[in-house]
Symmetry: C2
Subunit: 354 residues, 2 copies
């Protein structure tokens, strides 16, 4: 699988850059937002709808698909793309974050991590090598290394240990990736909110020369200031000529700040999750369709938006079907919120391009 990253334009005002990733399954214009398709579907969105909002790549979760339906079944289906009928690129995470946030009875050793499924209590054991095999079975366009995440706040010693293990696992992943030629692999930087640990982690990961580098373990409760500080420390070290992926971030204002600090790729469940709870995004901020003031508002969610929901429906209608607990309300709000994110990224790219 081919993977090429080019920088097309650098901002004069910040570390922001506009770039282009070329893969066998299509071009990804960076800075890019990747809608999250946890269980092999971006909640409420058909693949056609995803293309309509302008998605160029989606993210799917190795952990969830491992538990259900399992990599063997997905492989038998012809890979994740064919299984879910999505022919553009897919990035899969390694499951590291989900193991720490969802799985039960984790036992971590240098060899890997043992845990029981949060769905059926079944035992699983994952190693840096096996998560690559799993992602290869999915047919991911971009795979992620297994990393060790820690809770925030954690004491320095705990975080240091996690950084050490993350680097060791990254090294094993790199070796396996070179041997197996399973495709494009990204490393992950950890280090909590300790600048020196972030620095060390970034140096060790950068040295391993992955196709791209990710910053993990942020957006887990720290302040935006702390997050930006960590990004600055890390991006000082991560190579300029490779894409930088800030995992699990965030609100549009977080993304903007991270782009200015040199990040290129983002994913987050916020736009889809907010939509299912009735919240929609506009340049004026987050609004709830539940509100009485929208009862007779016969204008679109956002008059500046070109999405299917805004082109065809009013707030009054979406509010009505939302209160009537109709699924279409979630579909329309999801469509709008994802399109809002894609438009935000378009604007960011245009601003950098000048």
């Amino acid at each position: 699988m081919s993977f090429k990253f080019e920088i097309l334009k650098k901002s004069k005002k910040s570390r922001a850059r506009v770039g282009r990733i070329t893969t066998d399954r299509g071009i990804i214009n960076t800075p890019i937002f990747m809608p999250v398709g946890t269980q092999a579907t971006v909640k409420t969105m058909t693949p056609d709808a995803l293309k309509e909002i302008g998605a160029e790549i989606i993210l799917s979760n190795t952990y969830h698909l491992l538990l259900r339906p399992g990599p063997e079944l997905i492989k038998e289906a012809g890979g994740l793309h064919k299984f879910m009928n999505w022919d553009k690129p897919i990035l899969t995470d390694s499951g590291g974050f989900q193991i720490y946030s969802l799985a039960h009875m984790r036992k971590i050793t240098d060899k890997g991590v043992e845990f029981t499924s949060h769905i059926d209590g079944k035992k699983h054991f994952l190693t840096p090598e096996s998560v690559l095999d799993i992602q290869a079975a999915y047919g991911s366009d971009i795979s992620m290394v297994l990393d060790e995440c820690v809770e925030l706040p954690s004491d320095r010693k705990t975080v240091e240990k996690a950084v050490r293990r993350t680097t060791e696992w990254a090294r094993k992943s790199k070796i396996q990736n070179q041997k197996s030629k399973q495709g494009t692999l990204f490393g992950i930087v950890q280090g909590g909110c300790y600048p020196e640990l972030r620095k060390r982690s970034a140096e060790e990961i950068a040295e391993l020369d992955f196709a791209g580098n990710a910053i993990g373990g942020l957006s887990v409760g720290e302040s935006q200031r702390e997050m930006f500080d960590m990004i600055e420390v890390v991006n000082e070290i991560l190579p300029e000529d490779k894409p930088r992926y800030l995992m699990g971030v965030g609100f549009p204002e977080d993304i903007k700040g991270a782009v200015e600090r040199g990040c290129d790729m983002f994913d987050c469940v916020i736009p889809t999750r907010l939509a299912r709870h009735g919240t929609f995004l506009t340049d004026e901020g987050r609004l709830s369709i539940r509100q009485t003031r929208f009862e007779r508002d016969f204008t679109p969610l956002d008059t500046t938006c070109d999405c299917y929901a805004c082109r065809n429906f009013t707030k009054a209608y979406i509010r009505h079907i939302f209160w009537a607990r109709e699924i279409l309300a979630m579909q329309l709000l999801t469509h709008h919120n994802l399109r809002y994110y894609m438009r935000t990224m378009e604007k960011i790219r245009n601003e950098i391009s000048g």
Copy 2:
């Protein structure tokens, strides 16, 4: 609003006929199935998706829309079509059936029916005249008269009383409709499972010369045999040159039998409701996507189907997202089941045309 019904072909083997209804908002090919959009949305389906499955008319429920968001709001929105972004014909029922099946504390007099909302306990009073005003506020292409439904089984006296009141209300509706010129109005025949009462009701309703005639109060627990018997009694009397609408029916096999007995229009929540519970329809019968035998079935729901779900996804995938409680599973199964109904109607029309 114009309304024209033409019979294009009559079956030589049965009372079945192929016809065409012409309205200001488009042509309806009969026998037709009308997807149900109870709360101003056919559950999980966008208007685009409805057009894709070939829907030529949908049904919406006067009772539900009366309680929420109310006819005033819908009128303010520019009518139901504009509110829900559906530009083809809409038939609205009168709410009669829902008042009897959903509302609380009903009190029926010759003047009308008083009840409290099943949503918020608010009191409402509907008359034969007011339900026409409500449907006019919606901008319905086809309105239905208020009728009195009775539980099955009910004693002859109760049913006889309901037939008498249904006729009286139909007469009032006809007068109001002629005065107000609010558009196309259908009468409704009642009479439970008593052939003589069905006969009497059909004669009285037929005499009032509505644009079309409906058969109500069936598919409420009686056997298919009883239902067919009642349809035969009624359709012997209802005029040939007007469409006959069998309300709330039913499974494909019920519809086929009713078409052979001279019915032209149908609506039912079965295809959409079954879909949300994981059941999909095929010529081999009803199947559940939950079943283990579909776990590794990489063929479409129905190899003969041309719907979006069957063109793009496998049973294995839909089963996976159904068990993962993903909304997309309900969307895809609804799409398929409605398309199955539309294809069934196409086949029925082709068979009659010979």
